[in-house]
Amino acid sequence: MSFNSRTVAALALIAATSLAFAADEKPNATAGTQVKNATSGVSQDRSSKSPEEALFVEKCGMCHRQMGMGTIILARRVDPAVAMLEARPDLPADFVIQAARAGIGNMPRISRGEVSDAQLKVIAAYLAKGQK
């Protein structure tokens, strides 16, 4: 599989505009031509401030932080401002566990070898903390 740097520029812009503007804001088709290095912007924040957050980053961050596959697809289905799971105010722990084990949409199922039941519980509680 490969990627196109204009894709990165456009996706980065989609992510940026999504946060700043309405969900249906269209990206500027010429975006990317003005930046020095259009391919930059794939890096995600891999930092954490707690063991629970560190576990989320290790097991889920690759898809559910910036520029992740999950974030990009979820931005089409929910308010892009909360496309990253950590920004969601409404994620019940049971739902997180169900989604991870059963898969959801394009998200493949996560096996117990990859994330144990105990680890998944910790991650689900971490994501549920934003629940009102």
Binding site: M1, S2, R6, A38, R46, G68, A102, N106, R109, G113
Partner: protein, 509 residues
Amino acid sequence: MSDLSAALKAFANAIGAENVFSSEQDKIDYSDHYSPDEKKHMPGAAVAPANVEQVQAIVRIANQYKVPLWPISRGKNFGYGGAAPVLKDSVVLDLSRMKKIELDEENGTVLLEPGVGFFDLYDYIQARKLPYWLSVPGNSWGSVAGNALDRGVGYTPYGDHCMQICGLEVVLPTGEIVRTGMGAMGGASTWQLYRNGYGPGWDQMFVQSNFGVVTKLGLWLMPEPEALLGIDFEFDKPEDLGWAIDTIMPLRREGIIRQSPSMGNWLRSASVMTTRDQWTKDRGPLDENVVTAIRRRFNIGWWSVQVRCYGPLEIAEASLRILQKAFNGKPVLAMKPVRWVKGDAPEGSPFSGVPLSFPLANANWHGGRGGHIGYSPVLPPKGNLALDQFRRTYALYQKYGMDYHASFAMGERSLTNVNQVIFDRDNQDMMRRVDAFFHDLVKDAKAHGYGEYRTHIEYMDLVASTYDYGGGALRKLNERVKDALDPKGIIAPGKSGIWPAANRKGTRS
């Protein structure tokens, strides 16, 4: 006869019941989420050892009860089967808990266990601020070792991952541990430094094979260069593929360009940014007007390729000038220079080894529950042959009503035509066409003397059957080796079309 339930009890005794997974949900979790038919390759259970001793114990138990094992590193081989085995009811040997990293900072080598993913290794290097860049594949969720062992590729000069392997630790099918290369010597100090070893070199024997379970893999890492310069090219017409490849290939052969530029069509770019139904409700072949509208919106060529030069600044600049000169006066739609020099903000792309997962978003192109399988024949590096390949396969995509998603990766002496057959698993009509389409693609490649470099578990026999010189002499050799090393036939039956004696009947057409 195999005895799965007795084996599962023995596995639980050996590695703890909490690491043996045999519920219905577990079996589903280890099957291939993106495949057309998950049930066909559903495993019987999974076991997740913590160390090499437990791998040995599992292998011995599997021999005792004649239970086939399907080793996976992290099981993210999407497009090729994910975690699922060729042979239904095999027990997945999940190595994802084995995550040791031993990095030699001075020499730029690393010894990895199979559970280490690209993001894990990236985080490890970043945390220590080490001056090494990874080479990552488009889906960097998976295992570094597993990807190299399946001949995966990346974007940097170290992008032929299999070629960076230096020394393996392998549990043989009968449970003994062997170390290849210099690691064959007790107390070896050059295991990750010198590839050849003494006598026959057997690292490659364990690549895309079922001759053992790799538990440690040595890999060379690229020292961070002073500069990363390049050009992003966009091309307007399908026909531009031919001359563009003929322009780049001489530089590739000479080593002016040391990474493998991959020339991909508009859908490779668009399929992660948008979905088909945004543009047309027509489920038939895509109208060229639709293609044009998508290209305009995202400012992409019919084809695009990113070419990069690495090294000390003066060398990278000289390489870039040669690249620019090669394209002088040629009808490129757009050329955009990119430049990173040490001291700049992080380059931030896979060209500097930043892992990524967003290319997998192409699974959502059709909406619905998407999936894909990879079709990747290898061609001679000639523009006219690539163009001909494009035209023939494009016609097959049209015939089967599938959307063309392909790229041509330029190796030093070859082109790999990576196709992703993207489908919507909720569309029964489409799913019925996928199998016949794939068979036609393989048949077409074979008719031109092209073989696939890697394939999905469903098609391992089909692809193996195209390697038919001398009445399938290579497969016969592989199976003689298989029988000698794995008399009970327990490691990954059917991998790369290699079957143990007991399973061989009825698998051949």
